[in-house]
Amino acid sequence: MSSRWRRIRETGFFLALPTTAWLALFFVLPLAIVLFVSFMSRGRGGVAELPFTLEHYQRSFGIFSIILWRSIRLAALTTVICLLLGYPLAFFISTRRRRLARHISLFLVILPFWTNFLIRTYSWRILLGEAGLINGFLLHLGLIGEPLSLLNTQFAVLIGLVYGFLPFMVLPIYASVERFNFRYVDAAQDLGANDARTFLRVVLPLTMPGVLAGCALVFIPSVGAFVTPDLLGGTKGLMIGNLINNQFGGSGNMPLGSALSIVMMAVVMLSLLVYVFGNRRERG
């Protein structure tokens, strides 16, 4: 290593300086403002004013908690489904022998991102509607007598979330499995482990960093999802993101919206802690 590179390695904090400044100005500072506002009273027109109050947290943990729990439940389900679908897929892709096959598969996973998320979610409305393609197909086959209520349900939200976030699960797991050394599998089997045991005791633990990263990347945006429940959820699939949006729009209550955001962030933070500690255990 040249001395210049050694110097960079040892005192390279300036590499992080632009991002640190950016985050301090546009993340930490606004977050502090949101936290501050969440303890203020609602003034005329929904803006924050003094005195300080805990009212909005009381409401957040009051009836709003119904929707908060629903959001956590839907996000957790989304994460589990994405994991069950994404792990085998990532495993399949990363074990292709030919490099081209791997690259094309990865490309196909990312391909949906080329279309705007809003448009893709709108399309689900057309697919899931009472007179939509899925109902039309099932009716045509005579599998159902009358249209199923698919749209405007939690089921629709779940489909939309899994569809939207699946790539975020596949990519980190892919990276983990690709680095996995398959000689460990041979070793485990030589020592008498069956397939299930080999997977659970060797493959899964060694690819766990990818699994945890994927789960975090799916769970965190799912909890705060706004577009998907707005377009697909109707009254039954309403999520906390929609109610937060309402407080800054029609319902005009910025302090309540701020409090709800903080509570939601706390939930996400807790799940991140699980991620960090889970990761540490794997390494330790």
Binding site: V47, I63, I67, G129, S149, G234, T235, L238, G249
Partner: protein, 361 residues
């Protein structure tokens, strides 16, 4: 409220005399000196004719930015948080009053809007803006029930049919109107500011809302058209637009006999508008007899423009349509939404959030 009813009753008397022969009309001319300028309009969705904006751009040599909103509350929130650059907004009556009180509107300069003389006199000087200092009418209409005629061959004449329907229903994200309809059933003033009454209306709606699949943001007609719902509570013109588009009898609009909401939407200029002069020129343009008639012919709402009505430019189908110009006995049962003040506004907003939470339970 009484005054609104009175003036709308008076309006109906004007309609029969409306079918005068088409008169010669000078096309609207743009005053000099606006070339190259920009106007930003913030209007309700599906609420303007295809050629209204392009014709204005051509006449004045200006560029128009056009943006849409779905409810008075959503628009109000944007302006309250600081006008992001809009020159024209289209608030309903009660919202004009609220915005004027909060000093969110710029006074109109009537010298720049000679076509204000075209407005039906009874629609001027409404209680929400007695001297028309801040607003001139854009269109007026009602909230009612859009439904699939296949599902309701005998029509809908009561809200109970909506509450009891065994099939998907969409409500309208218009909180004061929806709570006002519940107040009609509870024998309360639709604009009550009493906390207990507002909460009772909320509970009434939650109880009756078991069949509601979505509270639609001014796009209920799309859900109806796509077959996702059998009933959509909507603004009348939005439902009539889809009937007109499909040239069919698949959809119909009705005002239930218990009553509903009547509203007047207005052209106003929000505070901190970048180009209030051009905004006033635009208001004058909209109030031109021909421009106003073309607008009404496209969006199927009731025109407040006497010159448009008398000139014969408006389709007779529209002038004769009871869904656009309701008969007097129906008008008597309509209520207008007024500014209820800051305290009741908060009560209503809280009630609406709670309703959204419990509707989906």
């Amino acid at each position: 409220m009484k005054k609104v009813l009175l003036l709308l009753s008076a309006l109906l008397l004007l309609v029969p005399g409306a079918f005068a022969q088409e008169m010669e009309h000078e096309p609207w001319a743009c005053p000099e000196g606006y070339e190259g300028q920009t106007l930003s309009i913030f209007n309700w969705s599906t609420y303007i004719a295809e050629d209204t904006v392009p014709n204005f751009e051509a006449a004045c040599g200006v560029t128009v930015n056009y943006d849409i909103y779905e409810s008075n509350e959503a628009m109000l929130a944007r302006i309250r948080q600081g006008n992001p650059g809009y020159d024209i907004i289209v608030p309903s009556g009660g919202t004009v009053q609220r915005m004027a009180e909060e000093m969110l509107l710029i006074p109109l300069d009537m010298a720049m809007i000679p076509n204000a003389a075209n407005v039906i006199p009874d629609l001027l000087g409404a209680a929400y803006d007695p001297d028309n200092m801040y607003s001139l009418p854009y269109q007026w209409g009602t909230v009612g029930v859009g439904y699939r005629t296949e599902v309701f061959p005998d029509g809908i004449n009561s809200w109970d049919q909506v509450w009891e329907h065994d099939g998907p229903v969409a409500w309208l994200d218009d909180r004061q109107t929806m709570l006002g309809i519940a107040h009609l059933f509870l024998d309360n003033d639709p604009n009550t500011t009493d906390a207990d009454e507002i909460n009772a209306a909320r509970d009434y709606l939650i109880e009756k809302g078991g069949n509601v699949v979505t509270v639609a943001a001014d796009d209920g007609q799309v859900l109806l058209e796509r077959g996702d719902v059998d009933i959509a509570i909507e603004y009348n013109g939005d439902i009539l637009q889809i009937s007109w588009d499909c040239e069919c009898d698949d959809y119909a609009y009705a005002i239930p006999e218990e009553g509903s909401n009547v509203w007047i939407d207005n052209l106003s200029i929000p505070v901190d508008a970048p180009n209030p002069e051009l905004a006033m020129v635009f208001i004058d343009y909209i109030l031109d007899a021909k421009v106003g008639a073309d607008l009404t012919n496209y969006i199927w709402y009731a025109s407040p423009n006497q010159a448009s009505i008398e000139s014969g430019y408006i389709d007779e189908d529209i002038l004769n349509d009871p869904a656009i110009f309701p008969p007097a006995e129906q008008v008597a049962k309509l209520f207008a939404v007024i500014d209820v003040g800051a305290e009741a506004e908060e009560l209503i907003n809280n009630a609406w959030d709670e309703l959204l939470i419990f509707l989906g339970q």
